[in-house]
Each structure stands twice: as C-alpha cells, then as structure tokens.
Amino acid sequence: MVWMQRTCAVVLAAQSVWLGGCGDPVAARPIGAAGGGTPSGLTAGAGGGGGLATAGDAGTGGTGGAVVLPADDVPVDFFRDIQPILGDYCVRCHGGVRELGKPPLNLQSRENAAFVLGQPGFPESSLLYLKVSIDDPELRMPLGQPALPADKLNKLRRWIFQGAPWPTQWSFAPLAMVDPTSLPVSNEAWVKTPLDRFVLNRLDQAKITPSAEASKPTLIRRVSLDLVGLPPTPAEIDAFVADGAATAYETVVDRLLASPAFGERWARHWLDQARYADSDGYEKDNGRKNAWRYRDWVVDSLNKDQPFDQFTIDQLAGDLEPNATPLSRLGTGFSRNTLRNDEDGSDPEEDRTKRVLDRAATVGTAWLGLTMGCTQCHSHPYDPIKHQEFYRMYAFFDNADEVTTDVPNGTGTMPADVLTERNSNRRKTYLFKRGDFLNLDKSVELQGGTPAVLPALAVRGTIPDRLDLAKWLVDAKNPLTPRVFVNTTWYHLFGQGLVTSLEDFGSRAIYPSHPEMLDWLASSFVSNGFSRKKLLRQIVLSATYRQASVTRPDIVNDLENTLLYRQNRVRVEAEIVSDAFLAVSGLLSNKRGGPSVYPPIPPEILDITYNGIDWPTSTGEDAHRRGLYTWHQRTQLYPSLAGFDRPSASVSVTGRDRSNTPLQPLITLHDTVYVEATQAFAKRVQEGATTGLHDQVAFAFRLAVGRLPTDEESAELEKLHADAKVTFAAAPDSAKAAVGKFQPQGVSTADAAAWIATARIILNLDEFITRE
C-alpha cells in the first residue's frame, strides 16, 4: 500500500484499553537520584510523601506492630476512608485514564463496582479485597508496588463487611446543615466566630490544643497581606497595638475591606481563574489593548462587594440580562480571555472551537471545581461529567460571538472586548467524537445542558442559554458553586483548602478536612447574599485564623496541619513580593486601574519571541505600579513575576505554586526594579530615623516585617552596616555607585551606601516575603 492512511491513534488506544491484558507489569518503580541530584520521586502523591500517599485520613496515624486494628463492625466513612483508597490504589491504573493495557474497573458507583465487590457483608467474596490482600506479590494489587498498609486493608474489609455502602458523592450532595452551636467544645472562651466551634470540636477529639493568638504585629501584617496584598505601615501597626478595645482587630479588618487596595488584591485571585492576560498567546501573541477593561471591572466588583451570584451572571451572560447595561456586558470579557491563534495558515474555525471548548471547561474549573479537559474527548467511568454533557456545556457558548464595543469608562467611553449572542444563522452544536472538531456526531443536535449529577437546569425560554447556565450555577439548590468558592477563599487565607484538591471536586476529590464547616460556610455565604466581603470577614475574624503560625513540634500526627491547630506560614504571591518592595521603599504608586503598564524589563528578554514584543517601558509613576497592572504577555512572562510563580494564564488556575528557588534571590538582590526599591528604602530609613544606627535598624525592620528586631538581630545588622561602611569609605566610587540617585541629605556617601548594603539584607529576609 503506497498511500498509507494513518489510523486515528485514539481509536486504537481506546480498543487496547478495553481489551488489553490484565496486569501489565509496567508500573511505577522508584528511581534513585542520578548524578548526585536531588531525588524528586517519580510520582508525586496527592498528600506528599511519595507515590501512594492518601489524604483525608488525618489523625489516624500509621499502624505499628502493636496497634490493634478495629473490628469489622467499627464504622467507616466511605468518602473519608474508602474513596481515597480506591482513588490512590485502584483508579490510578484501572480508572478512566488508566495505564494502557489494564482492565477497566468501574468505580463510579456501587452498581458498577458490584462485580469486584462481591457479596456485601462478606469480604472474602470480594475480588477487590482479595486482590489487594493476597500474599503473592505476583497476584497482589497494586501490581509491582508495596501492599496496602494494614490499616487501609482493614478499612476496606470493614467497609465490605458493613455492606459496602456507597453514598452519593459528597460534593454533589445538598449542603449539610450542622448547627455549630450544637457542637461541644472544650474552651468556650477560645471561640470567636461560629466556625471556631467546628475547628475546636475536631481538635478536642484529637486531643490537640489550638495555638495561641499571633502577636499583634504579626496579626496585622498577616491580615493586611491577605486582604490588601500590602504590608501595614508602621503607623497602622502602632494604631492597632495602641488600640486596647476588644474590637481593635475588627477595626483593622473593616478598614482593609473598605480599602480600594482590597479589590486589587482579590481581583488577582479571580483573574488567575479567569486566565486573564494582555495578549493572545500562541505564535503571534498579539497584544490585547482592551483586556484591562475586564480586569478593572473585576476590581470594581470586589470593591463594591457585588454579590457573587450577580458577578457570575454578569460574566457569563451580562449581555443577555433583561436589564443589560454596557457595564454589565463588560463582565463577559471573562470569556474573551481565552487564547487565540492568529498564526498564518491556522484554521479559524478550529481555533474558534478551541476557544469555545476553553469557555466551557473554564466554567467547570472556576465555578464547579470540575475538570472537564478529559471529557472533551471521551467519558471516564469514574468521572461525574460525561462526554456528551461536556458538549452540552459547550453548546451554551457555541453561539456567543466576539465583538468589541464602546463601554463607559469614567466620563467617556472606551472599547472593550465582550460577547454577544448570535440570533440568526445560529450554529448547530454536535458532540466532537474523540474531541475532534472535524468529526462531529450529527445524530443528535445538542442544546445547552448541565451535568446530571447536579440539580436540574431551569430554562426560561425555548433554548437554554448562558443566562440560564449562570443562574443555575448560583441557584440556591446548587451546592457545588458555594462549596468551591468557599474552599478557594479558605485556601487564600490559610495556604491550603479544606478540600486540598482545589480544582477537583469530582470523584477523586480529597475529602474535606472539615466537611460540616465547609457546608456551613457555604450555606452562610449563600444566605449572606453571596457577599464576598462578609465571607472574608467571617473567616479572618475567627480565632482559627488568628492563631500563631509557628510550627508545633509537639504534634507529630498531623504535620500538614489538616486539623488547623495553627495558621500556616506561606510565601506571598509574586505580585505581593513586588508590591511589598515598592511599598516599603515609598515608591509604590497608588494610581488605580487603566491600561496595563510596562515596568523595566531586561531588553534581551524581548528578543526571544516571534517578531519580538513591543515593550514601551513605562516612566514616571507607571514604572512603580502594583504588580496587578503589569502587562501580561503570554509567551513572554514578566520575568520577576514569573520567577515567583505568576501563572502564564494559558488555563484557569485556582491555586498557584509557591516555589522556593535559587533564581529568586537573583531577582530580589539584583533585578533593577528591586535594586532601585532597595536604594529608596535605605534613603527612607535614614530620613525617617535620624537618632542613630540602632534606631534606624529598628525603624527599617518594622517597615519591612512589621516588628522590632531582637537584640541579636539588631546587633547583626548594625555590624553589617559598620563593616559595609568601612568598605565603602575605602572605595568612594563604589559608594557613589551603590547610592545612585538616592543620596539622603546630610549623610556621608559611605554611610548611605552602607545603609543600602544593610537594607538589601533586610529586604531579603525570608520573613519579608512570607506571610506568617
């Protein structure tokens, strides 16, 4: 055959999945570090610590030799105890995305799993139990890997003994109504808000006492970084420390929530989920001069505490609302943030379908915590969303056209990129077989629809539209949206979610650490009119939030702090690193909104991408704006933000990395923006404290990290300053170069340079870029 046709590889693969051999002995094996490198482990476990870690089982501990395993009739919780075992040990290989060649194992429901479960009540009749418990490593699952720990085997056994109950997936079930006042706690005085009862009740059960409240300087720095993304000023710290009223902390919280900087900080979280950027991505990566209109709309929405339900409706269907205004249409810019490929020769219809796919998938990630990427091509036996259901979500967006229209801005109007619904010549939506837009299943024309595992969609007219979808997402009957939103909010305030799988509330979701509290917060959020500020206030006022973040060596059974016996110490996000440098140096501009800006960037960077990128470096105060406003070019990320894990905005991101790398010190010690901020900071310190080095060090320390240095810390810095002064006194040219244009009045150049040497160390303290 001369003209060989390439067969669709997906078809072949699918066949081999279902008909392939059982137990292909190709499995994970440990690989030691080669060449002296750091061993990373080939498979990262969800809960850390290696390939097959389970989560959601905190407080149980391992099973040492002396531990007596519970009897068969000791109750197990399916979601907490069993589902993680199935997920980690079975679905990994036998699930939908199983290793090719392994037999499918349908673990989506009790019915589907019946044949491996055997006869409920009789573990010995269960193929599943036998396969994981058998001694013979040639037969035992997971193949080629260590056997399940005894406590997990015991749980499986108990579960089957107890009839293998398989309740509805917890995340899709209606919100549970647990009254926190019904929960006994050991220390009523500790409780500051109702959520504290949930936390303390669990801690009591684990016989763990909560941590003490953080010191006032730590607390105000924490809540300032969390709510407005800026460190508190010394005056703000002083006012808080001096305020002896019981409501002193509430006063701070309310001030922060009312600050316009609040919207700038919390918009950033949503913009990550909205994959907002200032360019198209792909080869051309053309600039989007109007993208900032959507960004500012999000900031405004947060600052005026627009209810999250309306925020949702405006973004998905702002153009379809009966009382649509140009401003509410601006919210549909949400869907204009998709990548776009204008590469010469690319297929415009293919790219359009990619954008529509992304819109449907992003609704899944951002509102429902459901990953829909796989369902673009096929259904998984264990996933709640089916292939056709995904294309019903797709159908909502298939007739949304992209337009640019004038929208009011201040006193005039300016163009903005929005959606508009096509009313004539409408596209017909079909399922893409195997995700291929050229391979449509024309047997059924699809209309907009929502996943069957969730409450039904209410349709206003004859054709389900985006407004129906948006209203369904925020309908009081839909439990998933508030659960996901509350969990993401919690993540931003504690560094980890109550559900640690932030982007996966499907069947492989990690069971919540505090399921009743999650549901209580979710239903309070709904009953409080979807107020984001009220939700934040409720959480940050809690005793749980206010705890010290110091690691507790006395607790060995919950190193990950699942039970919330302390706060977590987290490295601040990229924009906060940059904003904090500019803020403490006094350089930060408080100009709000408007087109994105171009702070200085190494010129070599700009040569890398296609045709180079226009980077008209900003001058004046635009060189010192908050990181939120930095132009985001998708194929060339602003290096100092990317170095601290600013995502690329290719896809919706709920939680960022918090990397700790050797390239980060090069940014904070050497990048021109940071060097300038350091120089300005040093000048500010010398001008702000004129009563000697010791006081200057104290002032600088407080500016940077919000507290006074200890004697030991102060002595170290004073010695550093003294040594640097000697060095610079002997090298006047170096001193002058170090000081640059930031020479304070009435100070010797050597002194000023020595202060810069000191300042750069203070601003590189781990504590400076950490929220404690």
Partner: protein, 493 residues
C-alpha cells in the same frame, strides 16, 4: 488460609471461574480474555528495570521545520514527478496551512542536491550535510516520524511537551523533575536560543503544571548567561558574600523560632544562587578552550552572504551563536546539566527554499558534527543523547499559496518527516522507517512523536508511564493519556 485464597494461589484461571459472587458473565469473559494476554506479559523479562544509557540530553530544536527532502529523505521519484499533480485521492481530507489543494503540483529537489551513502552503515545523507556525513555511523536517523499538528506553535508544543496546548511541562522539565539536576550549582534544564525571534517562546520550555523550579532557564545569547547574575553597581562579590553571611544568620535566627523547614530551603537557595553567580559565567568563559576546538565548532564563522527573507532571518551573528551554543552545551553536560535545549531557525521555507536552505544547513552542520566528535573524544557521547528535531516536515508539493507568483517552497507537512538521535544509547548508523516514493506517507515503521518521547525516556532508564504528576485529577505524563505510546526498541543500541 481462606479456601478461596488457597484456590487462587493454586490455579489463577480456576479462581476466576469460582470466585463467584458478583462476577457477571460479561465481566468473567472479559477477565478470562485478559488472563490470556497476561500470560505473555509474564514472560517479558525485566519490564520493571531499564538500564540507564543516557544521563544528559542536548536537544537541538530546528524551529520552523526543515525540508526533509533536502537533508535526509532521498526521493528520486519525486524529482521525476516534478511539476506533476499528486496521485488521485492523496489530498482528500487533508488540511494545509497555506497550500491550495486544487492546483498544487509536486516539487522535486534542486538538481544540485545529491545524496550518497555514508560511513560503514551506508546511511544516505544529503550533500548539504558534509560534516555530519562523517558521523553517519553515530546517527540514529528516523525518516518516519509524524505529528498531529500542522501549525508551528502547536506543533512545537507537541515536540517539546508532548501536548498541543500550552501549560504542559517540557521534556527537559520532566527529566529534571524525575532525575534531578546533576549539578548542585546550576539549573538542571538550560535553554539557548541561537536565532533570535521565533514562535512559541517560553511556553516551549516552561514547567507547565510541574513546580516552576523545573522550568528551563534561558541562557542569554550575549552578556550574562542568566538574568540578574550581576551584583548591583557599587557592590562586589565580596560585599555580597558579607551581606549573605548576615542574611544566613538572620534567617537562621528566625528559623529557630518558627521551625519552618521552608526557611532552611530559603537559606540554602541563597547559597546556591551565590555559587551560580560564579558557575554560570565560568561556563560561558571559553578562554580555556583551545583554538582548534573553537575552530572546529565554527566560532570563527561569519554568516554567509545569503539573503534570507525577513520573517525567517535569524539575528546577525547566528553562525557564531549556534557554534558557541553547541560548545556551551558540551561544557554544561560536563558540569552535569541534565537537559540542554538549543533552538535554531527559522527553517520555515514556504518560498526561496533552494537559495536559502544552504544557509541553515550550513548553520548547523559543522557545529553539530563538532559536538558529536568532541563528546566522543571526551568519552561523553555514550551518556549524552543528542537529538535533532522539529515540529513537522515539509510537503512534497510545492507551495502555491495565493499571491505567490512562482512555486519556490514547501508547506508544513505533519504526515512524515525526519529527526535523528546520536549517542546516549541510540543505535548509531541506523536509518529507521520508510515513506512512499514521493515522501508523503510513512510506509514502514511509523513513529508517533509520543513513541519518540517514550523511547527517549527509556534511554534515560525511565518508564514513560511511571513518570507522572497529578494535575487536574489525573496523573499526567509526557506521553498522551489518550493513545498508546510505545518504546521503539529498534532505536536502542
């Protein structure tokens, strides 16, 4: 022992028929079928252990996609059919970036292009690669690789990351994640761009959903190799050291109070970063290299005076840059850098193919040949995998896009193209795979890019199915989740 278990051990097949309980007829039949397949698996020896052949990789990325017909794929019949329409039915269902299907005709190679067998293996290579031809017996040439993408950026993403969407980790990131960096003073994944502008940019070497630590670190073509290596004006390495000593103590004091291991990691990263400040410049300091070495790589070469269309034209000095980058790659591999990615191009010759391709062939031929020889002489070739690859190939049809008065180039061709490997356990002197007489489709030994990736990982001793990372609810990997990638044993020495 429980009777069922006992029975199970005695006779696995029998067990399946007696385990009873919930086993329905269909499930039973399915499982029996699987047992049959499993018998063969059980005989496959050593499936869990692979020898580590390659420790490092130098991945030479030919951005824009070279014409395989001018370098690797000799098609006399295509030359005979020059100007003729393609065989009937060939273009049914095909999509092209620019080509007009109705009027396209086949395009032979220029008469000056000759092919001859080289070395003991008799590998057939073009006269555009005179230096590489001397190393034919080291090359593992694949003439039958194919991709799913026909646009540059998605195609480049597939070759670099295994997926056609942004947000997936590059192969270099996966290898650094899986194996670590071989050098404590240096990033494990370094990227060098010899040619200046090209599509894709950072999306081709970032770590996607892997921690950002594993992103490729770009070495700048001139000046400091890594961004922000230099201490600020007025400071010296000594004064920086003095400051870092204080910083280390201060962070240590705080660590003693907070007991947070992240502080220890931060302290260590400041130290590593300080060491990198000398290591990185020392790697680009070529004063210790002999003039003969520099000449062999071609650091003395001026760009030839060939006019290149502006959209393909590399930055001036590209001949020197690419030669220097190949030499730097060897120096990095010596230091233990796991993965070096060099980008050169643009080979995207939709027009002016014949006059322009000598420029790009000449750009890469001498330095890559020198690199192979240098690695061999230093005993590094056995453990260093050198890869030469692109996003796709070019059509046997001439490109006749609207507006082109004459046909002088080729369009993007995903159905078959050529890549090669050398060293690192790849089988030298092997020409693998065949295409039909006009070089359109693969006729023998097709190689999916996913197979290519799986094979490369195997050379590193890594099972591609086992190198995974959980993301969006799925254990992701370099190779696709939706189709089977196979290790091609024939490519392994």
């Amino acid at each position: 022992m429980h009777p069922v278990l006992e029975r199970c051990l005695l006779d696995r097949r029998e067990f399946l028929t007696t385990a009873g309980g919930g086993l329905g007829g269909l499930a039973l039949a399915l499982m029996l079928k699987q047992r049959g397949a499993n018998a063969a698996d059980a005989q496959r020896p050593g499936a869990l252990q692979y020898p580590i052949k390659a420790k490092n990789c130098i991945f030479l990325y030919m951005a824009g996609a070279p014409s395989q017909f001018d370098l690797f794929s000799h098609k006399p019949r295509l030359n005979e059919l020059n100007g003729k329409p393609p065989p009937a039915g060939l273009l049914d269902g095909k999509r092209f970036a620019f080509l007009q299907k109705d009027t396209a005709v086949l395009l032979g190679t220029d008469p000056s292009r000759t092919f001859a067998p080289q070395g003991k293996s008799g590998m057939v290579l073009s006269n555009l690669l005179p230096n590489l031809s001397k190393h034919a017996d080291k090359l593992c040439l694949i003439n039958s690789i194919y991709t799913t993408q026909f646009n540059h950026h998605p195609g480049q993403l597939v070759m670099q990351t295994g997926h056609n969407l942004q947000g997936y980790p590059a192969m270099g990131s996966w290898l650094e994640y899986g194996l670590g960096s071989g050098d404590q003073n240096f990033p494990g994944y370094v990227v060098m761009n010899s040619s200046g502008a090209f599509s894709g940019g950072e999306t081709l070497w970032n770590s996607g959903f892997l921690p950002s630590t594993y992103s490729g670190v770009t070495f700048r073509p001139t000046g400091d190799p890594v961004l922000n290596l230099n201490v600020p004006a007025g400071f010296t390495r000594e004064s920086e050291r003095r400051g870092l000593d204080s910083l280390s103590r201060l962070n240590g004091i705080h660590k003693a109070q907070q007991l947070d291991p992240q502080i220890a990691a931060r302290i260590e990263n400041y130290e590593l970063s300080f060491r990198m400040q000398t290591e990185a410049p020392s790697i680009v300091d070529l004063s210790g290299e002999s003039q003969a070495t520099l000449d062999r790589y071609g650091l003395n070469r001026a760009d030839p005076n060939i006019e290149i269309k502006s959209e393909r034209a590399p930055a001036p000095g590209v001949y020197k840059n690419f030669a220097r980058h190949c030499l730097l790659a060897r120096r990095m591999v010596e230091k233990g850098v796991r993965f070096v990615n060099i980008f050169a191009g643009s080979w995207d010759m939709h027009s002016q193919l014949n006059p322009e391709i000598p420029f790009f062939a000449g750009l890469v031929d001498q330095p890559i040949a020198a690199l192979l020889q240098d690695l061999e002489e230093r005993g590094l070739l056995d453990e260093t995998l050198v890869v030469f690859a692109s996003e796709f190939g070019r059509t046997p049809l001439g490109e006749n896009r609207p507006g082109y008065a004459t046909v002088t180039g080729r369009d993007h061709h995903p159905d078959s193209f050529s890549v090669f490997m050398a060293g690192g356990g790849a089988k030298g002197g092997l020409t693998y795979g065949e295409t039909d007489e006009i070089g359109w489709s693969v006729t023998k030994d097709p190689v999916d890019i996913a197979d290519f990736h799986a094979t490369i990982l195997r050379l590193f001793g890594v099972e591609h199915l086992a190198l995974t990372y959980p993301h969006l609810g799925v254990d992701q990997r370099l190779t696709p989740l939706t189709r089977e990638a196979k290790v091609i044993e024939a490519l392994i020495a």
